[in-house]
């Protein structure tokens, strides 16, 4: 089985709660244990309590402080794969995100199949 990954836990943080809910719903429909973060501030708490395998983060939620936040998340959850999913598109961002420890960088809108493909890659399920 390639994408039937019911044991994988994914935490989603999007600036837009509607988008976040839709992604959580879609991932859940694909048999992934997905959860939306309560808020940007409580993300670190959520990480500790949920202990996700993968974190999907819209860096737009943190405006100009996103690099620090990515590093913070990596430090607090070194075993989790961090995937950026955002509208902020630039080569510079991609490089900085990679340097800060992000596994991959997806651009919105991204088909859920592609997100799952990257989740699988990040967790080694593929």
């Amino acid at each position: 089985m390639i994408t039937k990954i019911g044991s994988i836990k994914v935490l989603v943080l999007d600036k837009d709660p509607v988008e976040q809910n839709i992604l959580v719903k879609r991932l859940s429909k694909k048999n992934i244990f997905a959860k939306g973060a309560e808020s940007t501030e409580s993300l670190l708490c959520d990480l500790k309590s949920f202990n996700p395998d993968v974190i999907i983060l819209d860096i737009k939620a943190y405006h100009n402080e996103w690099v620090e936040k990515v590093r913070e998340i990596r430090d607090s959850c070194p075993g989790s794969g961090l995937i950026i999913l955002t509208e902020l598109v630039s080569v510079e961002n991609v490089r900085v995100a990679a340097a800060a420890g992000a596994y991959d960088y997806l651009i919105k809108p991204c088909p859920v199949e592609e997100i799952i493909f990257v989740i699988n890659n990040a967790t080694g399920t593929n």
Binding site: K30, V94, D104, I107, P109
Partner: protein, 866 residues
């Protein structure tokens, strides 16, 4: 045609007071300076016309893709030139009502053929597939219209049920949110310097669309249609496939290919999925296409088909005329287990069958191991890739009986619709075939066989299957992660593991693409490569290990080879005279009909130019050109001293400089090559026994301001080639010669222009007695050897070659000059008394010897590569 052109053409109906228009009512010709000016204008229009006609023919016979815009522009341009020729002809010769009337008829016929369909979006926001029979491509998109046409043609065939959110629905959505204005604003304020800039804009626009609200009436209409679908299928929460469908009539490939499909969408996310499909109109690939092709970013309606999902055992694509074979005499069927998304994504090798169209038997079969398949689960959204059990993996998708049944279905549909089809099909879990899509061939079906590579084996790094032809080079760029999409170096050679469609957005910016694993040549990535003219080779073994990012490579996607840069041998492209990939499609037939009205160059006979009533446009132009020339010749005679009794002596010709308008002059035939008509100059050089061809045309003075009289023995040979006066029509790059000689009638037309790849040579030899077909093998062999198209019947031999560069044109015109001299050799007058066959065989033999001797080859090879 545009209103402007209509206005011009409509002036044909109005009396012209100056006598310079093509008037219905009688008018006298203009005075001499006006006639002279008109003759210049006529010659200029004629030269342009003879660029356009071969171009049209070349398009029809080559593997070049075209669309309705191309045909419309071509037809308009041709009409405009013929109009100019006729108008100037009437200024010179006076009114010819027959010619005017015929032109109007032809122009009206052309207009009806290529007229632009005005967008007339209907009022229905959604329409059920079964009720969409009367909807146009503009209302429901070409993809859905194709499915509806298939169902109408074969009512008993299974097709999915569902509904279409129409272009009216799309426009309602865009209008409701003022999206059109917003998008226009984003685009106008954007500065696109690189791929990432476009990525950013694409993302911004798409998210703007996705986050917009649907108007209430549209949302209601969609949900009502969905409820009806639930009732119809008997499934509460029926899952649907949302497929974009755009009116692609004006384009040479289905535009929805650059958008995205959504599968297995239920009630909950239906409206959201609709918006995502609409947003796909602004995907990076789609926007890059519009940007690169210079298309206006206009609001092209995107319709969406919502089709009920079908439990699928196997699925695939069928081509009713195998695109891999030039004669297209068989059916190509490809199949994969589960949904054919893996085919679309290009990441699987499908089981393949080739079925003979005539014998109704399987003539080739290739079965591959399929380790995974795409399926849908009712509880999930989208498709899921699952492993296939080992027993099923190696089993063939369809049994032979099913293959024959499917081929029969495709051929039946092809017969009903009248053109070869690309059919997307599925086999459901009750073993019933469903037609999911049906369309005429387009650019995405333009596959070709690999050519032989001339590189030394040691120079080739690796080989694979070419799926998009072309040659290019660049630094390798290895992509594996999504972030590589943004970091891609423009103009690099993209190297990926699998031919997955996720890499398609990079193609507009890549010089070439290579994949390590084999991929489907009809998959989305390969098709996108063809759309963007990017050379692509799939299944290049060990390419990731054999190349390094700092060592540029050359990709030859004709032969499928990859070599280090600088090592590749550039071989000349061979002209492909195979069957046109669009042959028998509606768009191809439209061009064929246009050419019929314009005039196939093979069917122009000077003997027919007397009566304009049944002529096509090019014959009208010939007629006008000839009549104008004759009229001016009469004037030339009037300017000769003692004109009333004047006869042109042998070996002489008459010139009259129209600009000077002084007396006409007799010129010795030996000076014929001084005429500024390149083809005529080359041929006359042959008649002077000159082996060297004068290539320096810059020194020639501009003599297309002169006209030539009826030529009597124009070439400086001792004996007469011509029994009767020869007709020569010419302008700077065009030459038309017709003459008779001892039972043979020859017509030679050449078009040789420096900057035109549409150069053309037409040679026709007629005999009086209908026994020619038994005598022409030598002639046929000669022309076949130099790759001319040849046509033979019991009275005539026709050879034609188009699409040459100037150097090849000159070489072949020279060869024809040699042939003409040999058909009537001056040193052996008794030859003329011998049978026709002997004369032709002898002439051909001499030309062949000349080619074999290497002098011709040497001449050809000395020419610079075009």
């Amino acid at each position: 045609m545009s209103g402007f052109l209509k206005k011009i053409f409509n002036s044909i109906n109005k009396p012209d007071e100056t006598g310079s228009g093509i008037s219905k009512t009688g008018s006298s010709p203009g005075h001499l300076p006006l006639r002279v000016h008109s003759f210049h204008m006529l010659m200029s229009a004629n030269a342009r016309l003879w660029q356009l006609i071969p171009k049209a023919e070349h398009t029809l016979h080559s593997d070049k893709y075209f669309n309705i815009i191309y045909i419309r522009a071509l037809a308009t341009d041709i009409c405009l030139r013929v109009f100019s020729i006729l108008k100037n002809y009437q200024t010179i010769c006076g009114t010819n009502q027959d010619a005017s009337a015929r032109f109007r008829e032809l122009q009206a016929s052309l207009e009806s053929l290529v007229a632009e369909k005005k967008p007339q979006p209907g009022k229905k926001l959604t329409v059920h597939l079964s009720q969409a029979k009367d909807q146009t491509d503009n209302e429901i998109g070409s993809r859905m219209a194709g499915l509806v046409r298939a169902k109408t043609a074969l009512p008993l065939a299974n097709t999915p049920t569902g509904f279409i959110i129409t272009s009216a629905g799309y426009q309602s959505f865009m209008r409701h949110n003022k999206l059109k204005e917003d998008i226009s604003c984003i685009l106008q304020s954007a500065e696109i310097k690189s791929m990432s800039d476009l990525f950013k804009i694409s993302s911004e626009i798409q998210m703007r669309i996705i986050k917009s609200d649907l108007p209430e009436d549209l949302a209601d209409a969609i949900m009502t249609a969905y409820r009806s679908l639930e009732m119809e299928t008997g499934y509460r929460g029926v899952k649907t496939a949302l497929l974009p469908s755009i009116d692609s009539e004006k384009h040479n490939f289905p535009l929805e290919l650059l958008c995205r499909d959504k599968y297995n969408v239920g009630e909950e996310l239906l409206l959201r999925a609709y918006k995502e499909v609409v947003a796909g109109r602004y995907s990076l690939t789609s926007m890059s296409h519009r940007l690169q092709k210079g298309l206006i970013e206009k609001d092209l309606p995107l319709c969406v088909g919502c089709l009920a999902m079908i439990n699928t055992s196997f699925s695939g694509i069928m081509h009713t005329s195998n695109p891999f074979t030039p004669e297209a005499s068989d059916v190509l069927i490809r199949a994969v287990p589960g949904m054919d998304v893996s085919l679309d994504q290009g990441c699987s090798e499908p089981d393949t069958w080739v079925v003979s169209r005539n014998e109704a038997e399987i003539i080739q079969k290739k079965i591959y191991t399929q380790n995974s398949k795409y399926v849908f689960f009712l509880s999930e959204e989208g498709l899921t890739r699952v492993n296939v059990s080992p027993g099923q993996a190696s089993a063939q998708a369809l049994n032979d009986q099913q293959v024959m049944e499917l081929a029969d279905l495709g051929l039946h549909l092809e017969k009903r619709l009248g053109y070869p089809l690309r059919i997307s099909w599925i086999l459901d879990n009750h073993d019933r075939f469903f037609i999911m899509e049906s369309s005429a061939y387009s650019l995405v079906d333009n596959i070709h066989s690999a050519a032989i590579d001339k590189s030394r084996p040691s120079e080739i790094l690796s080989k694979g299957l070419p799926v998009s032809k072309g040659k290019n080079s660049g630094h390798p760029y290895f992509a594996s992660k999504h972030r590589d999409l943004l970091e891609f170096h423009e103009h690099g050679v993209l190297i990926i593991d699998q031919a997955h469609s996720r890499w398609a957005p990079l193609l507009p910016w890549a010089n070439a693409i290579l994949t390590e694993k084999p991929g489907d040549p009809f998959g989305r990535l390969a098709a996108t490569a063809r759309i963007f003219d990017v050379p692509a080779v799939f299944g290049v073994e060990n390419i990731t290990t054999k190349t390094r990012p700092d060592e540029p490579v050359s990709v030859n996607a004709y032969s499928g080879t990859v070599s280090k840069l600088g090592k590749m041998i550039i071989e000349s492209e061979t002209e492909n005279f195979n069957r046109h990939p669009l042959a028998d499609t509606p768009i191809h037939n439209t061009l064929r009909q246009v050419i019929r009205l314009v005039g196939d160059i093979e069917n122009i006979y000077p003997s027919q130019v007397i009566n304009p009533k049944k002529q096509n446009l090019s014959e009208l132009a010939h007629f006008s050109h000839l009549s104008s020339t004759e009229t001016l010749l009469e004037l030339a005679f009037n300017h000769l001293p003692g004109a009333s009794n004047f006869k042109i002596p042998k070996n002489s010709w008459l010139t009259w400089d129209l600009d000077e308008q002084s007396d006409a002059k007799l010129v010795p035939g030996s000076q014929l090559e001084q005429i500024d008509c390149r083809p005529l100059g080359i041929i006359s050089a042959r008649f002077k026994n000159t082996n060297s061809i004068h290539l320096d045309h810059k020194k020639e003075k501009s003599i297309n301001r002169k006209i030539v009289t009826k030529l009597i023995n124009p070439f400086s040979t001792q004996d007469s080639l011509f029994d009767h006066p020869a007709n020569i029509l010419f302008s700077k790059d065009f030459f038309h010669l017709s003459f008779s000689s001892k039972g043979i009638r020859i017509i030679l037309q050449c078009y040789a222009r420096e900057d035109s790849p549409e150069n053309l040579i037409f040679f026709m030899l007629n005999t009086v007695k209908p026994v020619f077909y038994t005598q022409s093998s030598s002639l046929n062999n000669l022309f076949a050897r130099v790759k001319f198209h040849t046509k033979l019947d019991n009275r005539s031999f026709i050879a034609r070659k188009a699409g040459m560069n100037i150097n090849n044109s000159i070489a072949f015109i020279d060869m024809l000059g040699l042939l003409l001299t040999q058909i009537s050799p001056s040193e052996e007058p008794d030859v003329l008394l011998k049978p026709i066959k002997t004369r032709i065989d002898r002439a051909c033999s001499k030309v062949e010897s000349f080619i074999d001797s290497g002098r011709h080859a040497k001449f050809l090879s000395s020419l610079p590569v075009s």
